[in-house]
């Protein structure tokens, strides 16, 4: 499939990849929805159908849940064992790593926000990976700080510690909503501009320029900063079709480092909220007099979490990349659709924030009882 990239087979190959990805996404989604549909069905299903349905509903979701419960329980046992046998710490790190991988497959941990952020922006796979790792490790640091200060230094009760977690949680959800609203503003303007003058974008060449500019990520912003005339010319159109960071409201936003700063905002909104699992492990380790082992386990967990989140981030970046490539050479309407997707993803980020804030959607519940 990869050998005939310049022929009509190229398009065929793209489609195939696309369909594979769609299938993968659907399987993931269907598994969750199927399980929910079964729980929702007010009359249940027929006796005969039930057993077959049950087997499927178990599927990936139940397996993930079973695995993470297994690793979670093994962690407390291993921390206990580490008290008398130091070598158990190595086992603990391994368990924590796998717990991170499986645990992060559930909701929360910033997968949805980071994926949406990546779709909304013209991001590269490299930045997707960087954002995923940065947010996972920031989550670990925040968990260590919360437990280190409140439990180790101040020895406050779980109730007080939980209050802190809640405050941090609300801050995180608020920031997600604000980030989403900001993205909506920026992307909305891009969308409006393409809708307003679709004729200007009808040329395939310009669409291609936009696509390749996007591929180069922040380096293109750097070029722009140096003000090469030719590039500037391209970027005016790029701006018009609303690609990448380049249609930020103020010219300063076009520069590369600024783009990274925007990425850091996304990392902060997600990373500020620690994982309840890490907090529990840290407090447990502290109670056993092995706080350092808890810290090591938290970082191992973050590594696992980062890998899972990266998987989702790369899927998001590839889906967006495919969409962009398909859109290139198809003129104004395709570009408008692309801007529409970006605006939609921005809206999703905002909605996640609002839904989490209002408690309609629970990513994770802070253990406050």
């Amino acid at each position: 499939m990869t050998s005939d990239l310049s022929t009509p087979g190229h398009r065929h190959g793209l489609r195939l990849v696309l369909m594979l990805m769609a299938a993968l996404a659907l399987v993931m989604l269907a598994d969750a929805l199927w399980a929910q549909a079964l729980a929702q069905n007010p009359f249940g299903v027929g006796k005969g159908a039930a057993s077959a349905a049950e087997a499927e509903a178990g599927g990936v979701v139940a397996w993930l849940l079973a695995k993470q419960a297994e690793f979670y329980r093994a962690m407390s046992a291993t921390i206990r064992a580490a008290k008398s046998d130091g070598s158990a710490v190595v086992t603990l790190l391994g368990i924590a790593f796998f717990y991170g991988i499986f645990h992060a497959a559930g909701p929360g941990h910033g997968k949805a926000v980071i994926s949406s952020y990546l779709v909304a922006n013209e991001e590269t796979a490299r930045r997707g990976i960087a954002l995923s790792f940065a947010s996972a490790f920031m989550q670990a640091l925040v968990a260590i700080l919360i437990v280190g200060i409140s439990a180790w230094l101040l020895n406050v009760t779980a109730k007080t510690m939980c209050g802190t977690e809640r405050a941090v949680e609300i801050a995180s959800y608020g920031l997600i909503a604000v980030l989403g609203a900001r993205l909506m503003w920026v992307k909305g303007k891009g969308l409006f501009r393409t809708l307003a003058r679709p004729a200007a974008l009808a040329s395939p060449a310009l669409a291609y320029a936009a696509a390749s500019a996007g591929d180069r990520g922040h380096s293109h912003g750097h070029d722009h900063g140096h003000g090469h005339h030719r590039h500037d010319h391209h970027h005016v159109h790029d701006d018009g079709c609303g690609c990448g960071h380049s249609h930020g409201p103020e010219p300063a936003a076009l520069a590369g480092p600024q783009g990274w700063r925007h990425g850091l905002v996304a990392v902060a909104t997600v990373g500020i909220r620690p994982c309840s699992g890490a907090i529990l492990v840290l407090v447990f380790a502290l109670a056993q007099g092995l706080f350092w082992a808890g810290i090591a386990a938290t970082f191992a967990m973050a590594l696992g979490t980062a890998i899972t989140v990266t998987g989702f981030a790369l899927l998001a970046v590839s889906a967006k990349g495919l969409a962009r490539r398909l859109a290139s050479g198809h003129g104004g309407r395709a570009a408008t659709l692309l801007r529409g997707i970006e605006f939609g993803a921005a809206t999703l980020v905002m909605l996640f924030g609002v839904a989490l804030l209002s408690g309609y959607m629970a990513a994770e519940r802070t253990a406050c009882f």
């Binding site: 989604l29 049950e54 659709l337 994770e364």
Partner: protein
């Protein structure tokens, strides 16, 4: 744009949408594990008056909950030391309807505030004891009781040894217990589904519900 192109394009959009939606909407996961013992309490005239639970938390959560609690003797927690924590527990549980859902002959039954609540620390875990009196005691041919967290933050497992007892029940009453299959969500309809949280994501935990039924002729 040609029609097949538009179609594949829409497919790309579907992927992006499924990605973000799927990541957000997938299953919740528990951070707290509870092993439960429950008693259904009957009055002398055969009416059901309430439910008494004793819930053992997992070791990790127990340690977390005990963080910062002052005791006279290190590592020994008396009922008195844990009084404030037990108070917090039952107050917080109210928000979650005590994770207990009752239905008598098709009618949802409500609980009063919990009474006789206390915590004990046993075998390095916390056990919460509390009684939930029904608002209006009732007689029922079929009482269905479920213990579960609809958002599945707490995983409830019925204890292996006599997880449910009938206290003072008429001789004609029969107890039946249905556990969720190990790790596999049950496909059965949750009894509280219509009356409790009805939105799709909040009721995810219903698949892991423990169903207790008492039939009296």
């Amino acid at each position: 744009m040609t029609t097949p192109m538009l179609r594949s394009w829409l497919r790309a959009f579907a992927i992006a949408a499924a990605l973000v939606a799927g990541t957000g909407a997938a299953s919740a996961h528990p951070h707290v594990w509870v092993t439960s013992h429950s008693e259904v309490i009957y009055a002398a005239d055969g009416t059901v008056t309430g439910v008494r639970h004793s819930w053992a938390f997992d070791e990790m959560f127990s340690t977390y909950a005990l963080q910062g609690i002052e005791t006279k003797q290190k590592g020994v927690y008396s009922r008195d030391d844990l009084k404030a924590l037990a108070q917090t527990n039952v107050e917080s549980l109210k928000e979650y309807a005590f994770f207990t859902f009752a239905n008598a002959d098709g009618r949802k039954q409500r609980f009063q505030e919990p009474v006789d609540y206390y915590l004990e620390y046993k075998d390095s875990v916390l056990v919460l004891h509390f009684t939930l009196p029904f608002k209006a005691p009732f007689k029922a041919k079929k009482l269905a009781l479920e213990v579960f967290d609809p958002s599945y933050f707490v995983d409830f497992t019925l204890a292996n040894d006599e997880p449910v007892k009938l206290v003072g029940a008429p001789a004609s009453c029969q107890l039946a217990i249905e556990r969720p299959k190990s790790g596999t969500p049950s496909a059965q309809q949750p009894i509280s589904e219509d009356s409790f949280l009805s939105d799709a994501f909040a009721n995810y935990g219903a698949m892991f519900a423990n169903k207790i039924t008492v039939g009296c002729s």
